[in-house]
Amino acid sequence: MTYEEDEALTSAARESLRLVIDPELGENVVDLGLIYRLSVSQGGTAHIEMTTTTRACPAADFLKDAVLSAVSQLPEIRDVHVRLTYEPPWVPDMMNADASRRLG
């Protein structure tokens, strides 16, 4: 797999994560800045480091599973590893401009 193909696959994985929304805010996890790290290595293994807006959020397990499911749907992805972290804790400044604008 070339560098360009890796990059394209990482972008596709990022796009697929827009299907996953934070239920409280109604915005997708990418625009909210909840995905701290996303990389796809040779052979199609995705490594994702993510957080939730609140520590110990009741939706945390669902969000983690949803992130795994969304990326797993890509045919080029063979394996997905998702790690939930609260270091650093999420703050609203991590949202991108689109999410900020939509939340007013």
């Binding site: 996953v20 239920p23 009741p58 397990d61 795994l68 703050v91």
Partner: protein
């Protein structure tokens, strides 16, 4: 890292029972049962008061804490299987208590010691709740306990005091506490029972939980230090003085000093809490706040109206004469207003998690906001607050018919809000294409699915 919190299986059942008692109490009030048609200490009034304080507000608070305390401490709920026995004990205890009051009123004539049973089941139910939540709080190193969790700890202590006093009243009134028969335990403990129950348990816990919920809903910075801690310590000290007031009076002959200290501390705490509310609002990153937050702000405005009312009544020397209006505005304005506001968010949120959480990431899902129609429900919340303010005014001027009309307004508004919550549980407002995607299961109205995670 494992997620510490999951869906509390019985929270929705607590909420359903709570709303049943709220609506039932409002129906009784609107039909003229209890105060102001009857006197404030009449058994009929006590029926309505305990339907509201235990049936509605306490069940609501317990159900919310079972779901929310794990979020506050980032630990799973300890002994979560006790939630159902606790609910059953609380329901049995409350029904016995109400039965006891109806016996006293002469409405029912059965040779069953209802009050004594109430004095047994209710403390058992609250003890299970306090054990479960207390153990969960205790599982965290004390230095790591968040500010809202500390409020909850103080609130639980106040609940224990209020319940212990209430149980002793029930035993004395039922004639099953001969050791206390010679003492006027009601006169001794009633003001403390009311202050600890309404103020310490329900009010203080609600304020503490708001320190986490409001920044979460408005995307404001947490304010764990400074004024928040001052509110905690001022409030906790105030409840301490309330508890000490009666023993102090026995020794010195007057409870004026500790009562005065408690009053000043509560006043100072609420002023500093106002600074924090303004801070959260002004520093929010979510410009378009949702109806639940707008309504919660309304409830806090009513809190400050009630403080102002108390100050005016004390200055005019007519506080004792109008204590009914004060209790009404605190119970139905601040606490019920805040409770309905929070339910309007929590019920759709939990419904969403139950239904769409398991399929998210595989299919497109609606937002939590799509489960309700805010533009329609805004009218009902407005009607609720209007009715509540009218009811307070009616009590102040001594107009019982107007009070019943005002209560009917709050009843209509509550029923409309509850209908909206049922509609949210049934996913009626979600567009047909998104309503039940493959793999999603429709949540039950208030009982858990046995296979639920």
């Amino acid at each position: 890292m494992m997620s510490a919190s999951s869906l509390s299986r019985w929270t929705m059942a607590y909420f359903a029972a709570a709303l049943f008692f709220l609506i039932s109490a409002q129906v009784l009030m609107a039909s003229g049962y209890g105060f102001p048609t009857a006197s404030i200490e009449a058994p009929e009034t006590l029926v309505v008061v305990h339907m509201v304080t235990i049936g509605w507000l306490s069940l609501l608070m317990c159900g919310a804490l079972f779901q929310f305390v794990p979020v506050l401490v980032a630990q799973p709920l300890r002994d979560s299987t006790l939630a159902l026995p606790a609910l059953l004990c609380l329901l049995a205890g409350l029904l016995c208590l109400l039965g006891g009051f109806l016996q006293t009123a002469g409405t029912i004539d059965l040779d069953i010691p209802f009050l004594a049973f109430g004095g047994l089941f209710l403390p058992s139910g609250f003890a299970l709740v306090i054990w479960t939540i207390g153990r969960t709080l205790w599982s965290v190193p004390k230095s790591g306990l968040s500010l809202p969790a500390r409020f909850v700890a103080v609130g639980l202590t106040c609940a224990a005091a209020a319940v212990a006093l209430g149980a002793s009243f029930a035993w004395v009134l039922s004639g099953h506490a001969p050791a206390l028969a010679g003492t006027d335990v009601l006169a001794f403990g009633l003001p403390v029972h009311v202050a600890m129950g309404l103020g310490g348990w329900l009010g203080f816990t609600a304020i503490g939980v708001s320190y986490r919920l409001l920044p979460m809903f408005m995307l404001s910075p947490d304010r764990e230090h400074g004024t928040g801690r001052f509110v905690l310590w001022a409030g906790a000290s105030a409840w301490g003085f309330v508890l000490l007031a009666r023993p102090f009076a026995v020794v010195s002959g007057s409870a004026a000093l500790p009562t005065g200290f408690a009053g000043v501390l509560i006043l100072v705490a609420t002023v500093f809490f106002a600074f924090d509310l303004i801070f959260f609002y002004r520093h929010r990153r979510r410009g378009k706040i949702e109806l639940n937050v707008k309504s919660a702000i309304g409830a806090f405005l009513v809190l400050y109206c009630s403080i102002l009312l108390i100050l005016i009544l004390v200055a005019a020397g007519t506080f004792a004469e109008h204590v009914d209006a004060v209790v009404y505005i605190v119970g139905f304005g601040c606490l019920t207003g805040l409770g309905l506001s929070m339910l309007y968010k929590i019920v759709p949120f939990l419904t969403w998690l139950e239904c769409y959480g398991p399929v998210m990431g595989r299919v497109q899902t609606p937002r939590v906001q799509d489960l309700v129609v805010e533009s329609r429900d805004r009218v009902f919340f407005t009607l609720y607050y209007a009715g509540m303010l009218l009811g307070t005014g009616a009590l102040l001027v001594g107009a019982p018919i107007l009070f019943r009309v005002a209560t009917a307004m709050t009843l209509l508004a509550t029923m409309a809000i509850v209908a909206e919550l049922v509609v949210a549980r049934r996913l009626v407002n979600v567009g047909a294409t998104l309503r039940l995607p493959e793999g999603a299961s429709r949540p039950r109205l208030f009982l858990p699915h046995w296979h639920a995670r």
